[in-house]
Symmetry: C2
Subunit: 149 residues, 2 copies
Amino acid sequence: MLKNMPDLTHGDDEAAVNALRSAVMRLSRRLKHQRVDESLSPTEMSVLGTLARCGTATPGELARKEHVQPPSMTRIVALLESKGLVKLEPHPEDRRQKVVTQTERAETMLEESRSKRNAFLASLVEGLDEAEWEKLRAAAPVLEKLAHL
Amino acid sequence: MLKNMPDLTHGDDEAAVNALRSAVMRLSRRLKHQRVDESLSPTEMSVLGTLARCGTATPGELARKEHVQPPSMTRIVALLESKGLVKLEPHPEDRRQKVVTQTERAETMLEESRSKRNAFLASLVEGLDEAEWEKLRAAAPVLEKLAHL
DNA sequence: TATTGTTATACTCTATAACTATA
DNA sequence: TATAGTTATAGAGTATAACAATA
C-alpha cells in the first residue's frame, strides 16, 4: 500500500513532515490577514479561484473541494451572491441541485487584485534567494495535489 | 530591494504563487481536522513545537512567532498550563514579563504522538511518487523560513 | 511615557442537527 | 429510502479595546 512512499520513520523525512505542517499552519495564518479584498474571507477567495478554474460547480462539489461542510458552503455562496460575485441557477437535470457560476464582476475583481497579491508575496519572497524560490516553485504543484488528494 | 527575487510578473511565477497560496489554505484546513490530540488546537500544537525548538519564550515572543495577538496567546498559554503542558515563571530581569517553559509531560506527549502524525501524513503522501515527495522535502525548510520571515 | 501582559467583549468561520424538496 | 441544499443553533478561535503593572 505504501510502495510509492518513502519510509517516514526516517528522521529526515519526519523532520520534513513536521516542518511542513508547522509552516503550512503559520503561513495560512498570515495569508488570512493579507486579504486582497477586505470584505472577502480566505475561503470565499478560494471558492472564486476554484470557479475560475472549473467554470461552474454545484454547492456540494464546492464543499467537497474546499473541505467544508455543506451548510458552510451554503453560507459562503450566499455571501458571494449578495456581493454580486457569483450567480446561482437551477440545475438542468436535477431540481435538487443548483449551479454556481462566477460573474464578470468576480473576474474583474480577481484581475485587479493580482498586482496587490504580487506585492504582498514579493515582500515575503524578498527574503529568499533564487535557489530557495526555485525549490518552492517546484513544490507548488505537489502541495496543490496534496491539498485535494 | 528585489534583487534576490525572481520577477513575479512572469506568468510561471505568478501561477506558482497562486498555487502556493491556494494549496496552503486548503491544506491548513485539512490539518486542522487531523489533530494528534483531540484536546489540542493547531496553534497550541504549534506553540509546543516552538517551545521544543527554542527551549523557553515569553508570551509576547510566542505571539509574534505564531502571528497571533497577545490576548490570544494569553488564552492559549493559560489553556496549555491548565493541561499541565507548560509552566509559567517570572522573568528574572523584567517583572512585567513571564517565561513559558515546556513541561516533561509535553515532551512525552509529543514523543508519543509521533507515530499518530506519521500515520496521517503517510496517508496523504501515499498519493505522491518519490520525485514529488523529494520536491516537497526540499521545499519544507523554505516554507518554514517563509512562515516566520 | 512606553511596554508586557491581562480582562472583557464581540466577531468570523465552521460544525452538527433537524428540516424541506426532489430523486 | 437516499440525496442536495437550507435553516437554526452552538462552539472554537481570534481580534480589538480598555486596563493593570512595571520599565
